[in-house]
Amino acid sequence: MDPIKEQKCPACGAPMRFDPQTGALVCDYCGATADLSESSGANAPEQPAPAGDTIQGLDFGGLNAQATDPDAQALPIYNCVSCGAEVIAAAEQFSLTCPYCGNNIVLTNKITGKLRPEGVLPFRIDAKALPDAMNRFYRDKVLLPRNFFSESTMGKVTGVYLPFWVFSGTLSGALSYRAERSSTHRSGDYEVTDTDHYRLERDVSLDFENLPVDASGRVDDALTDSLEPFDLSEAKPFDPRYLAGFTADRFDREKDDMESRAKERMFSSASKVISAEVSREYDTVSRTGGSLEADLRARYLLFPLYLFDVAHGGKSYHFAVNGQTGKVVGEIPTDKAVSRRYFLLRAGAVALAVLLIAIAKYLLGR
């Protein structure tokens, strides 16, 4: 199989890209469009034959080994099919744009077999809408330095399909608790409190669905976590054509490593809701023993993100935008002078109002 797959316009041969607004491939040169639902023709997805086991839920055991297989990484330099230029791709990239002719390229040898994502959440927000999203984001950030954000300070926006492990499954186990129930009554001048102590045993189970965990080490987890939620009902079976015009990374963090993080988050929530349920009949409940076991399945999906930096004061601030919902997250600085002015203005207004009221009351003889 050709290791390079390009999206060509069937009308003029120019590169095509995925348009988030229409959900179709568009040619920016002749305006032709190609519906992604078409399963035949030049742009129909080529379904690579699975290598070895098919992707079936839990079994990702050898995936990372394959990701680091020399065959998968031996092609750091590609020749663009369109212009013949040499294109260098990072090890984790499998979708990119030729910097010389703008051709959209998918490196299919990086998405074969178990490396092939199970699905993709297509972009729904167009990059042109980002300035508006950013303005909405900054609207109530009144302590920002002046002129922090403008189109001139906003760096290059990169649309990226970022790899995520999406975990679903059941937590179950037997837990034991110590519980107390108190009743208080008066006895003369004393308040007498009788506290009954109990030992409780509970079999519990609860389900979690579609918890995403960032499978790429390239973006800070705080950023990707803060972009939640993603609507997984819009997930599509993986089709390289969704990647046209965007960068795409494959995972570089193993599913097993990320499963521990998913478990931590699930255990935290489970502990809270189980305790709340158990303590319904008691005043206080504390866990004394037992444990929960997790039976989890994972899917390998691509999530849409826009990434860009804002340069201010010699420092670069990283931002990310949920390509599905337009939610913006990023680290923003606080301007001390603006903060001081903000405080003094409000304090001064209150002080003046109180003073005027006092003077008015005095003049009115009240």
């Binding site: 979690f208 935290s268 929530s269 005095y362 003889g365």
Partner: protein, 600 residues
């Protein structure tokens, strides 16, 4: 209760350990964590529990043996499958009763459903009282319960056991009527009827109103009291009786006081209006009870009035000043009948009197009852007040007082102005200042034209600025300032604020503005929140998927703690603490009474 007993075998060791560790924490060789009278049938009142608790403590101090008494109904015994004796022992040990390391003492248990009574000696108490005496006491308890309720039964048990111990544990008590044989001592008084419940009340105008069986008063004092009580009876038509004794004959003070009043021909009219002060000088049970009879007396003797009167009486009796205390109490009782409150100034009109407002031009306008002004100061203030009166056509009055006679300060100030003939014209125009000596509180009262410019703010400023001096005992300066401020108010319509007040406003303003600014800044900073790593998966929990199956709930044990939390605020009570007050109770005859009492 059920669980406390049910887990006794498991919890006992812990409980006893805890008790033994805490038993001597307060310096006594016993634990006071729980009342010594536990009534699981819930018929004892709070006052009765308090009385019994003190009786048991007194028993313990006398005999170095604990005494704990429990009323345990059949339902609890049936549920547990315990006999009454087993329950008594378990409760005694579980609640940590007992004197000293050996937890010596008696557990008395009474079943109100079957009238069964058991007395279980524990620790060193075993053998101290003979079985015959124990049986006699146990069989006497139902007799007293029938007569006086569970309180009376428990009280009698304590006295009978005490009697037996004082007589070497073999006092020869007999089961039938054992209580009476012991408690009577020299026998119940002759006047006590054989059948109290069918007693026909009568009025005996010649019966002594002072019966000093405890010999607290001199003959001369008794005669003086008798004479005064006769005057009051004649003047107000209410019977006031003073009775002292060295015993209450095994009954509670309240019941014995009521019985004394009921069975000796006291009370005026069909409702037998009157009150009886019974002082019991029993060394183990010293205290007093004021028994009120008749609807008018019971309505007048409110809990507040009772506490006020008892506070004063306590100060006398606790110092052993019985004659002065009782004579003062008689005067307070008279005032209560005459004016509706136990303490009232002479000028306060009597109850039922029709008061016609009047003007007394000759009355002094500076009334220094607290005696805090020099003669020259009074003269100076009188001259200034008169000048202001003439200038504005209204009365200007200044009064210093050392008490408000049980009224609120505002009520007292208004009453002082109204009942002393102040004010000009039909509306009694005028303004008055009342300063209380002890607290320095300044109260403003006004009528007619004097109240026209006295807005709430002006009233508050007049009082506050005057008070700022009177609280420092600068009464003359305070009165002078008040006259200046009244002049200013009448002239300009407002009372000027003090410099300090402006300063406080400025400080308050600065604080408020700083707080508002800080809150606004804090909210703005929260909106600058930086991205954070998520630590939970709440949003991914499948709704309704939580299954919690109960596989085993095991009850372990019960722990009990108690915290001292009196319902009534006692800080304004006398040093003897608050009174036990009962708005309605019955004597042995079934007659209705109210009253209050205290120990001293």
């Amino acid at each position: 209760m059920k669980k406390r007993i049910a887990v006794f075998s498991l919890f006992l060791a812990l409980c006893l350990c805890a008790v033994s560790l805490t038993a001597f924490a307060d310096g006594n060789p016993w634990s006071e964590q729980y009342y010594r009278a536990l009534d699981f049938s819930e018929t004892l009142s709070e006052a009765e529990r308090n009385d019994l608790d003190e009786t048991c403590i007194s028993f313990m101090e006398t005999h170095s043996l604990d005494l704990a008494m429990f009323a345990v109904p059949s339902a609890i015994l049936d549920e547990q499958g315990d006999t009454l004796a087993e329950a008594a022992e378990e409760i005694y040990e579980e609640f940590g009763y007992g004197y000293g390391e050996g937890h010596d003492g008696f557990a008395v248990a009474f079943n109100p459903d079957t009238q069964e009574t058991v007395i279980v000696p524990l620790g060193a108490a075993r053998g101290r009282v003979s079985d015959d005496d124990l049986d006699a006491v146990a069989q006497s308890v139902p007799h007293y319960v029938e007569e006086h309720g569970i309180y009376g039964g428990f009280y009698a048990a304590s006295k009978l056991l005490s009697y037996s111990l004082e007589n070497g544990g073999s006092s020869g008590l007999t089961p039938a009527g054992a209580g009476e044989a012991v408690l009577n001592g020299s026998g119940l008084p002759d006047w006590y009827p054989d059948d109290p419940q069918n007693f026909q009340f009568f009025h005996d105008p010649n019966a002594p109103r002072v019966v000093d069986a405890a010999d607290l008063f001199s003959d001369e004092a008794e005669r003086r009291m008798e004479a005064r009580l006769a005057e009051i009876r004649s003047e107000l038509g209410r019977d006031i009786v003073v009775y002292t004794d060295t015993t209450s004959y095994g009954m509670s003070h309240r019941v014995w006081a009521a019985d004394f009043y009921d069975f000796n021909g006291y009370g005026i009219g069909e409702d037998r209006e009157g009150m009886c002060l019974f002082i019991c000088m029993d060394p183990d049970d010293r205290g007093w009870w004021v028994c009120c009879t008749g609807p008018d007396t019971m309505a007048l003797y409110t809990e507040e009035a009772a506490n006020d009167m008892d506070d004063v009486l306590y100060e006398y009796l606790s110092d052993g000043d019985y004659t002065d205390g009782v004579e003062d109490w008689i005067e307070n009782a008279r005032t209560l009948y005459a004016k509706g409150m136990p303490f009232a100034p002479a000028w306060y009109p009597g109850r039922g009197e029709t008061f016609a407002p009047f003007r007394d031009a000759a009355a002094p306008r500076i009334v220094d009852d607290a005696d805090v002004l020099a003669e020259s100061e009074r003269a100076d203030l009188a001259a200034r007040a008169a000048a202001l009166s003439a200038k504005y056509g209204m009365d200007v009055v200044i009064h210093t007082a050392s008490t408000s006679y049980g009224m609120s300060r505002d009520e007292y100030a208004d009453a002082f102005y109204r009942y002393n003939g102040y004010g000009f014209g039909e509306d009694f125009d005028g303004i008055g200042l009342v300063v209380f000596q002890n607290s320095g509180r300044a109260i403003i009262t006004a009528s007619g034209a004097g109240a026209q410019k006295l807005t709430d703010v002006n009233r508050e400023r007049l009082a506050d600025r005057t008070q700022s001096l009177s609280e420092d005992k600068k009464f003359y300066e305070a009165a002078n300032l008040w006259l200046d401020l009244v002049d200013h108010m009448q002239r300009t319509g407002r009372v000027p604020r003090s410099a300090g007040s402006w300063g406080l406003t400025a400080i308050g303003d600065a604080l408020a503005s700083a707080v508002v600014g800080a809150v606004a800044l804090g909210r703005a900073k929260r909106r600058m929140a930086v991205p954070k790593v998520q630590t939970n998966a709440d949003a991914y929990l499948v709704a309704g998927s939580l299954q919690v199956q109960r596989t085993g709930d095991q009850f372990l044990h019960t722990t009990t703690s108690r915290r001292y939390a009196p319902v009534r605020e006692s800080s304004n009570r006398g040093s003897g603490g608050g009174s036990s007050y009962s708005s309605s109770y019955s004597g042995s005859s079934g007659s209705s009474h109210s009253g209050s009492g205290r120990r001293f």
